[in-house]
């Protein structure tokens, strides 16, 4: 018999979290979890449904910060970040997840906590140095960098009874940066990432790259940073002619050799997005 909790407030959530055990399930949007429940005939002792915690759906973006509730849907994240140069990668990634139906229900918190190797939001949140605000039993809160959430084997580092309640991005530290996310899939829409390229550049007035960050998803079990690519980018214009050299930096990072070749095209597409 499953006990079901459907909290409406963060206070209720904190109390409900005290009931969770290793056999419990946390339901965010449900676009992955419902599949798992059915495919694996899961019978949780507790089902904690987060969909009615309104405070977890809120998105607040100011010039200095972006605070995104973990239950914000992909669609809400896309709409909120679209056109903001520093956060454009978030809009790109959220807007490319699954189908419209999935984006209307799937949440940013679920995407991160699910920790799929092919997840599109984790590399972007890492790119933007996002912090995950976590609530545990009794409402106890802590905060960790998003990059510390995946456990390396397609799970997360959350303790029993913990959930991510929101993500916080320090926009003040991103002033002047532009970011994009480009996804390579087997088709143009409703596709799972084979390469998830997130890139942020700080350019001077002439367009020359002063600083660069490159985080790649869907290659290894967790996203990884590509310092060699960042070194190539610094001091150059975002010229697609750099793509072959950038693609070479994939060597040794993937056993799938086609991705080494494909990375060149993905870098080219990514750099084109930075042209002014």
């Amino acid at each position: 018999m499953t006990a079901t909790y459907i909290p409406k407030t963060l206070e209720e959530l904190g109390e409900n979290l005290t009931h969770l055990t290793p056999n419990s399930l946390v339901l965010a949007g449900g676009t992955d979890l419902v599949l798992h429940i059915r495919a694996k005939h899961l019978q949780p002792d507790v089902l904690l449904c987060l969909s009615d915690v309104e405070a977890m759906r809120e998105i607040t973006i100011t010039p200095d910060h972006a605070v995104i509730g973990a239950m914000a849907t992909m669609r809400q994240v896309e709409d909120a970040c679209q056109g903001l140069e520093d956060l454009q990668s978030l809009a790109d990634a959220a807007g490319g997840v699954g189908s419209p139906q999935i984006r209307n229900k799937g949440t940013i918190g679920g995407n991160v906590a699910n920790a799929s190797a092919a997840g599109d939001l984790p590399p972007v949140l890492w790119l933007l140095n996002a912090q995950a605000d976590i609530m545990g039993p009794g409402g106890v809160c802590r905060s960790i960098p998003v990059r510390e959430l995946p456990d390396g084997s397609q799970g997360n580092t959350l303790a029993v009874g913990e959930v991510v309640v929101r993500f916080t991005i320090d926009r003040a530290s991103l002033r002047g940066w532009r970011s994009v996310f480009v996804k390579l899939g087997h088709r143009s829409q409703v596709t799972i990432s084979r390469i998830g390229m997130s890139m942020a550049l700080l350019q001077d007035e002439a367009g020359v790259i002063q600083d660069a960050r490159v985080i790649v998803g869907a290659i290894k079990p967790v996203p990884f940073r590509l310092p060699a690519a960042e070194d190539i980018l610094r001091g150059n214009l975002p010229d697609p002619a750099l793509a072959p050299a950038l693609g070479e930096t994939f060597k040794g990072n993937t056993r799938r050799t086609y991705k080494e070749a494909a990375a060149k095209g993905v870098f080219e597409d990514t750099l084109l997005r930075f042209r002014r």
Binding site: T2, L35, R75, S99, P100
Partner: protein, 156 residues
């Protein structure tokens, strides 16, 4: 759980398992069989309904997520015995072969037109990207949605 929500603007209250799917509640408990079960995995879109005006998969929505929500199914589009313009345009544009995907297609199209009354063909294709038709192609379907938008006054 005691679940109270709205289906096609009518209040519905029932005792149900929190893990019961909206798809099963609609088809088995409420007899609304217009919503179809295709893949049951959120891939094909045949089970698409509107929840608070947005297209969602009823096969991936659990009762626990429904409290107080407004669900619209294909049965809710017809008003006073008159088909919705979208439904009529699908018929008149012959955008139907076997019909199994059609209700999901129409609900995704409805969600699009609620948000964007004057969509481009590209926007229509994106809106329908989560709905698979395996009988034919999508040309008549896109035409039907374009025509419906035009007839609703969205397209100039």
């Amino acid at each position: 759980m005691r679940l109270s929500f709205f289906v096609n603007e009518e209040p519905v209250t029932l005792d149900t398992d929190p893990q019961r799917r909206l798809l099963d509640i609609l088809r088995e408990d409420l007899g609304l069989t217009g919503t179809k079960e295709g893949c049951s995995e959120g891939e094909c879109g045949a089970c698409t309904v509107l929840m608070d005006g947005l297209a969602v998969h009823s096969c991936l929505t659990l009762a626990a997520q429904l409290q107080g929500r407004h669900v619209t199914t294909i049965e809710g589009l017809e008003k006073n015995g008159e088909l919705d313009i979208l439904q009529r345009c699908f018929v008149e544009e012959i955008a139907i072969q076997c019909g199994f995907c059609t209700t999901g297609m129409i609900m995704s199209a409805k969600a699009l037109l609620l948000k964007n009354p004057d969509p481009s063909p590209e926007e229509i294709r994106t809106a329908l990207s989560g709905n698979l038709c395996r009988c034919s192609g999508y040309v008549q379907i896109v035409n039907a949605v374009s025509r419906a938008a035009h007839e609703m006054g969205g397209a100039q």
